[in-house]
């Protein structure tokens, strides 16, 4: 087992900079998600760590040992592919045995290890099947067993749950997490699904256009995004743009919005504030005024009922804000109604303009 250090790694394909000076430290035993839209460089980064492709510059270390010029077969990594990449000409057991067998392990050792790996992914009885006889979820488990049976130093997963349907995906998320805890392997997981990244990982790295936008625990990125992109890509956010004041921003129409966290900015600099839709309270009138709270007036333009909650779209001064209200049994607001929005500065993050 080992940690992975990526330091100042850049990689270009022709004129396209796929990775631009990326540095991330993946600690030993952690579960990391690399999150980003397509073309953000997350898969390119994973392939650099795996060794399918070498960086133009920078350093990659696994367990403290520089590997950026070591080919994939010598890196002792385990990888799970998006389409599982099971060998169709082999049985499930032979698929799992492949890594041990090319290494020249004894037959008896291979048989024991393969059975243990298949038991771990709860497919102990299916060793004799062919990959095409398995369901998507089962193939996923075989791919995982095959990747971990060689006791790799790092486990790399390239959108491994992307091809599964929603219910199965949630099961596999839990399963993957359980197996990862059980063997304690450093795991790096590429996904474009923000929910998957939030629920599974210890830390998330958000990538965009080949650069690392923000890295940290899911709670930290969600609660204190450092850019508009991080705020809107991981979860939903209402963004206000204006000029920085001492403790927030002033909008074009003069409304002040106070922010409880964020960088210290020079007064007058361009800045934004982000607030999550579920942090905003919506009411028909101002009610008891709380001196600190941010307050805006608007009009409900649309309501979407989703059972456990409702999403209100509120128009105000040319901007549409999103508010999510839990279904507590309280009266629902109707479209066209004038409303007052209130949220605390603690729920507001100040973001420097990029």
């Amino acid at each position: 087992m080992a940690g992975v250090q990526v330091s100042n790694v850049s990689r270009s394909f022709g004129a396209h900079k796929a990775l631009d000076d990326v540095s991330i430290d993946f600690a030993d035993g952690g579960f990391y998600a690399l999150l980003g839209p397509s073309g953000s460089g997350k898969t390119t980064l994973l392939r650099q760590i795996a060794g399918f492709d070498f960086p133009d510059s920078g350093r990659i270390a696994i367990g403290g040992e520089s590997v950026e010029r070591v080919p994939v077969e010598k890196r002792r990594i385990g990888m799970v592919f998006q389409n599982y990449a099971l060998f169709p000409n082999m049985s499930v057991a032979d698929n799992v045995a492949f890594g041990l067998s090319v290494r020249g392990e004894a037959k008896a050792v291979i048989a024991t290890e393969v059975q243990r790996a298949l038991d771990l992914v709860q497919l102990g009885k299916l060793g004799g099947r062919r990959p095409h006889q398995l369901s998507g979820g089962q193939r996923q488990r075989v791919a995982l067993a095959r990747a971990i049976v060689t006791k790799p130093r790092v486990l790399l997963l390239d959108e491994p749950l992307g091809a599964l349907d929603k219910a199965l995906r949630v099961d596999m998320q839990i399963e993957l997490k359980r197996i990862q805890r059980e063997i304690g392997i450093t795991t790096i997981f590429v996904t474009h699904d923000q929910e998957e990244a939030l629920t599974m990982s210890d830390r998330i790295g958000i990538l965009r256009d080949g650069g690392l936008v923000q890295e940290g625990p899911p709670e930290e990125i969600y609660d204190r995004p450092r850019s508009e992109f991080a705020a809107t890509f991981l979860g939903d956010a209402n963004i206000f743009r204006g000029d920085a004041t001492g403790n927030g921003i002033r909008l074009a129409d003069g409304t002040a919005i106070a922010a409880g966290s964020g960088p210290t900015l020079v007064a007058g600099a361009k800045a934004s504030c982000a607030v999550r839709p579920e942090r905003i309270q919506i009411a028909m009138d101002a009610g008891a005024t709380d001196g600190d709270a941010n307050m805006l007036k608007g009009q409900v333009s649309k309501r979407i009922f989703a059972g456990n909650n409702s999403t209100y779209f509120v128009d105000r001064a040319g901007q549409t804000l999103k508010v999510i209200v839990q279904n507590t049994g309280a009266d629902r607001l109707t479209e066209g109604q004038d409303v007052v929005l209130r949220w605390s500065p603690a729920s507001t993050v100040l973001i420097a303009a990029s």
């Binding site: 399918f52 080919p71 077969e73 385990g78 389409n83 990449a85 000409n89 492949f98 090319v102 060689t150």
Partner: protein, 289 residues
């Protein structure tokens, strides 16, 4: 519901008939009828066309078994087929691999075109150009002696290697094409998965790529082996005196000796032998694939 389905199926067949008919009519007229005539001839003492009296006989088939020459030539032709097929694999498979897995875009198209080029040239022209290359004082001889500091004599003309060279040249595109198709269908991520599990490129080739492309190798081998065993043009032109094979003997019966019944019988014995070989080999190959 069921009746409706049956009607739909019947009308489906009826509407398909105009599409199927030309092909089947053509096959009947062009292959089945002449072939039936040949089967008929092979049991005759003489051709009815010549006006001589004729009778039914098994003598033409008996001739194969009574004279060891025919068996010797058949074995030589089978060996020729095997050798040409092996050379086509040795030369064609790596080329197919590079085409399918290494080259992309325009360079792939260009190389592909070069592979198919022999198909577009006339077979006879192709063989006679080899004769120009291989004979003493020919292109190969002159070129090598111009480059090399010492004198060597290259005269491959009228030899077994010349026959092999000519046949491999004619048939290697089949191997490239069939292998290219199966290799191209192998997902690149399988190769990457093999390497991520610690397998060297050679191990991935042996344990993943070759087993998965075996159907292409088998198809290519069948497409090459069968016609090469019966070939006569290359052996005759490039082999000269050494180029007497089963196929050239059959050809002689038709164009030189005018013993069509014997030629037909020898042909059907060859067909039977080839079918037996394919039948014996197919379960083994299918299991491997």
């Amino acid at each position: 519901m069921a009746a409706q389905g049956a009607v739909a199926a019947r009308s489906g067949l009826r509407s398909a008939l105009p599409l199927l008919a030309p092909a089947y009519l053509w096959l009947t007229v062009a292959i089945f009828l002449p072939l039936s005539a040949m089967v008929f001839f092979s049991f005759m003492t003489d051709l009815p066309l010549t006006g001589k009296p004729w009778a039914f006989t098994l003598g033409n088939y008996a001739a194969f078994f009574s004279q060891s020459l025919y068996l010797t030539l058949l074995l030589a032709s089978l060996r020729l087929g095997l050798e040409v097929t092996l050379w086509c694999i040795v030369i064609g498979y790596p080329a197919a691999y590079v085409l399918a897995k290494v080259l992309k875009g325009r360079s792939r198209e260009a190389i592909f075109l070069l592979v198919i080029l022999p198909f577009w040239s006339n077979g006879l022209v192709r063989i006679f150009s080899w004769a120009m290359v291989l004979r003493e004082g020919g292109i190969l001889d002159t070129a090598l002696n111009a480059v090399l500091p010492f004198k060597i004599n290259i005269d491959l003309m009228y030899s077994y290697p010349a026959v092999i060279i000519g046949l491999v040249h004619s048939y290697v595109p089949y191997m490239v094409l069939t292998c290219y198709l199966t290799l191209q269908a192998i997902d690149d991520s399988l190769i990457e998965a093999g390497r991520s599990l610690g397998a060297s490129r050679l191990q991935v080739l042996k344990r993943v790529i070759i087993p998965l492309s075996l159907p292409g190798l088998v198809a290519g081998a069948a497409l090459i082996f069968v016609p090469v065993v019966g070939s006569f043009m290359e052996p005759r032109i490039l082999g000269g005196r050494t180029g007497t094979f089963y196929g050239t003997v059959i050809e002689d019966q038709f164009v030189a000796v005018f013993n069509w019944p014997l030629g037909a019988a020898l042909s059907f014995i060859l067909l039977a032998v080839v079918l037996v070989i394919l039948a014996v080999a197919s379960p083994v190959l299918r299991r491997a694939a």
